[in-house]
Symmetry: D2
Subunit: 271 residues, 4 copies
């Protein structure tokens, strides 16, 4: 079935013949394996641009920052899935990644777009403060959330934020988006009516955009990072299972709010 | 519902309070972000052991080797999924990872288990040649495949194999499993009746086991690596789509082998 | 981690004790198994409302209409996934469902919301024609697509549309949303500048909303239906594989648009 | 890339032209929509055989039996995923289905294969008792589980078992596999050393095989059924969320067993 106009698939990432695998113009076996770190290679895969120390250091820092935060919902879902289907590690990883959506880990992308929009207003002539005020107020008026601010556990600033800003500075990245991110943090109380501190999902785009990372690829950063964390959790699950115990605990406080047939007693039962 | 005996979930990977996130005993913000590469961090997540130059170099090489090989089936599946559901990047990555199974990318794990079994026989007193002969013949007798040998495109040795063996040697990894892998390659013609050369899925465990990488985590290596490749393909798909074009081409040669109602003509049609 | 305000999980769908499983207030074993069809049960699960002949007939018709349409992209992705990971049927089904997104099968939900918006305008006092004109023009002005109109293969009206409208009429469903759907079809040439005929994704909500099916559950209909189709394709794949052949064909016409190293020749190669 | 020998994709399920969609030899719009229930259509999709009242009644009963059992692990995983990524209903359904694996819902397939093996021994001349004894003892000797027996909640016979056996009898299905299933139940105490009563995952293949359902498609039954249950849970989740509350409860009793940095206190913290 022809969907859309295009019938010829094109790609600029990789080609190969029987002897050589080419990735972004380079011979994978001769030029990349052993000559590049995985972090650099991710950058090469994304846009083929030459490796830079700034980009690698900042990207490494963000991947380390977001890979793991204990038994968060997506990790619980992944471990429950592995407990039920241990024949398919890939399925349990996939189940965990499916929770990297708009509410939780997708906020990095959304925050990056917010900062880019503010940067555009500044480029158009506004002061930073006015640009922040206008863009954040407009979001608020549309009842849209301000992505990357506030955290259920880290009420003061998420501790990963300082660490990431420190790396960006040391590595010599452009700090423009860090300044935008902090200006948004300062403006939030006046616009939203309460303090919401920078969390890791705002700090990631703030430092990555200043290191030349592609805006549209931001959402890939938490996804790649969490894959590492999920694999570690699933290795632990295979040796010291807790997937079903998590599910057991989750069900202990469930309240059933529907009807029951005559004579049915939940005493000793469970939903 | 209580499934299994355990009701208390336990984990040794991460804990946190409002100020500090702990991963494998270290303060994430103070000790890890900015101080460790993503590759090192993956190793820390997996087993908490101290970072070593050998482990990092070998792991980096394997992740780079397996991350990308063009529009292979799992990448096609992922790009088709993104074309149909662009609101959910995580779903398209998940679809691609679901193809990292026993037939294709899971072979790294299976080959590692084969090499470990041979190493065990050698530890028990057999010569390398006898151990290889016995273990490979037994698999053959049970009609099981020899994972990690033969490749649909790279009929001579997969070019990534030499590159990985070279990195292992340079980095100072133990070469025991490389020797086992090559002994299996030499034994295959006599046992299987045809040459099947080492492919990347055998080379990966051969070098990683010699660098102290945990056997049970081997399957995680292609999964993590491919996630990077998939994200790059999906970034390209968002800018220069080919998912539907791939599907269109795939359907051009489909033969429908079932019945049709009276008067139905496939002229101009398509399945 | 406490995300959101709620800490007590509540559900009204099912509870159980050691002897009895309760679903929507009924004893599953005594009152439902053997007494209800799967289609009725899906309705009971969704909202617990009593079964009606109209709802069942219309829902059956829509599930049959959308379950299968040959080797469409999501089926190709699913069969490729199964070929690579045959140990996990559930993973291949999941990969196929991940392609039920906003561009392809999610259009049923979006079209239902369009019709409900138009119905709301009519309830507010507009004529059907004005309501259609206003709502469709506003979407067009926002450059949003008109979901459920036009089809890559069925340029005249999708043949499933008449069949579904016929079932709705025979079953005695309310036809209000069918009329809205047809009014939209008539208005499109004037607003969009070309004919786009009703396709199955508009016909499904048109008949289901008239049968009292919940608006928010519309997206579940193609998902449930396609699951049946995917299982049939994967049973066929296990007996007569074509997943890798589809991928082979898809790759035949791929054009590599990136650079290559000196001396690399694509002759005889493939991406 | 050419994987395997086949390059031409073939299918016998569906084809189409601009006017007609053919499924299993029939015109979808003219002969199937409005003329067949979804349950019948699933059977037609699977093997194209004519509809029979026995097959439909037994299949309906099994789909109803297995679709829903409250907040089991896969439903928890699915609701957590939806809470984190509400933009992608299909992703949350996929996450739930990924838990339909070998340990939990895949047991229907495994039990069916057990019964078919016993039936084969009986066809070869053994008595039912000897065949059961031999096959079950051999599994036990290989330390393999006996799939479909025992249940974490329903210690006496799972209440769905009688209901399914009653439907099979009333519908006039062959009861051979029901007899085999009960003979296995009687033999288990002598072989395993404790009572393990028939659960729904053994009853499903026992009745379906007697109704002519294809052995290799058994695993599709819980997958299709659970899709309906998952959609209902996700509709409820969109209106009355509990995904994050489940995760919160699951984390309350987590014990962190790793090391912590000097000065770190878990008081008031959480993993």
């Amino acid at each position: 079935m022809k969907i859309g106009h295009e019938t010829i698939p094109r790609t600029a990432i990789s080609t190969s013949n029987a002897d050589t695998i080419v990735v972004r113009g380079k011979d994978l076996s001769a030029e990349l394996i052993g000559h590049t770190t995985f972090t650099d290679y991710f950058l090469i895969l994304l846009d083929g641009k030459p490796v830079s120390d700034v980009r690698r250091r900042v990207l490494d820092a963000t991947l380390v920052a977001i890979a793991e935060h204990g038994l968060v919902p997506s990790v619980q879902a992944s471990r429950m899935t592995y407990a039920a289907a241990p024949e398919a590690l890939q399925g349990a990883v996939a189940a965990g990644l499916l929770g990297c959506g708009s509410v939780i880990l997708g906020a990095s992308q959304a925050a990056g777009e917010l900062f880019a929009e503010i940067a555009g207003e500044v480029d158009g002539g506004k002061s930073l403060e006015s640009a922040v005020e206008d863009v954040v107020s407009a979001r608020r008026a549309r009842r849209e959330p301000i992505p990357g601010y506030g955290h259920p556990l880290h009420k003061a600033r998420d501790p990963r934020v300082e660490a990431l800003f420190g790396v960006a500075q040391e590595a010599g990245a452009e700090l423009r988006y860090v300044e935008i991110a902090e200006a948004v943090e300062r403006a939030i109380p006046g616009i939203v009516g309460k303090e919401l501190k920078l969390n890791v999902s705002a700090a990631i785009p703030a430092v990555l955009l200043g290191a030349g990372f592609p805006l549209k690829a931001l959402r890939g950063v938490p996804i790649l990072a969490r894959t590492a964390g999920l694999i570690a959790h699933l290795l632990e699950e295979s040796e010291q299972p807790c997937g079903f115990a998590l599910s057991y605990q989750a069900a202990q406080r469930v309240e059933y709010t529907g009807e029951v047939p005559p004579g049915f007693s939940q005493e000793g039962g469970e939903s």
